[in-house]
């Protein structure tokens, strides 16, 4: 797996991972903004709740794929290091929260009232995972 990642990224696994993680972090902020419109907390004239919610779902689907790709890259290329306990812990929680959210959205309509809490949890976890790895890497350069 390590060789595949090296070949796919042409030896720039760290940079590709940092870029993908940054895209996820940036889109996570946009996702929160979209759902603020979707839930009617913010009512801009140029965007309706239904369009915002659908866009949130579409972008979210793409984000899940990117998050899984980054997680696979991270574990198979860098491994789990002892000094990255916060990063690893938050990443595991993020994957669990994402799985729960997808499960609730797709198959458990009676739990839809928990979606805002799940969404905000995912947003915070993305922030923690980003800040303890890619963010840290970017600041130090």
């Amino acid at each position: 797996m390590e060789t595949v990642i090296q070949e796919l990224t042409r030896g720039n696994a760290t940079e590709v991972k940092v870029i993908l993680a940054s895209v996820v972090a940036a889109l996570a902020v946009y996702q929160v903004a979209l759902m603020a419109v979707g839930y009617g907390k913010v009512k801009p004239r140029f965007l309706g709740g239904r369009a915002a919610s659908f866009a949130h779902r579409a972008i979210g689907d793409a984000l899940v794929v990117i998050v899984v790709v980054v997680a696979v890259m991270c574990v198979s290329y860098f491994g789990i290091e002892d000094d990255a306990a916060v990063h690893s812990g938050a990443a595991v929680l993020l994957l669990v929260a994402l799985a729960m959210k997808v499960g609730v959205v797709r198959g458990l309509p009676r739990l839809h009232r928990f979606l805002p809490v799940l969404g905000l949890t995912i947003w915070v976890l993305i922030g923690v995972v980003f800040a303890t790895s890619a963010g840290d890497f970017l600041w130090s350069r």
């Binding site: 720039n12 972090a25 940036a26 965007l47 309706g48």
Partner: protein
């Protein structure tokens, strides 16, 4: 809201997302610079090797000098 407005708003939202992706990639790539970490590590390794070789040469020269001194003193 009619279907046309809905489609336009949806497309606009997705376009904004695409723009965010592009901006994030451009900003982070600019921050990372043209040199990859692998290249940077290889450069540092080469530099360390050069310094090591220079130190070894200096040590050898020093030893030779000392040898010559010892031969002269005999």
């Amino acid at each position: 809201m009619d279907a046309r407005t809905y489609r336009r708003q949806l497309l606009g939202s997705l376009l904004v997302a695409a723009m965010i992706v592009v901006v994030a990639i451009v900003v982070v790539t600019a921050k990372l610079g043209p040199t990859s970490v692998v290249e940077e590590e290889a450069r540092i390794e080469r530099q360390e090797l050069r310094i090591e070789q220079a130190e070894e040469r200096q040590e050898r020269r020093q030893e030779l000098r000392e040898d010559r001194r010892r031969t002269r003193s005999r």
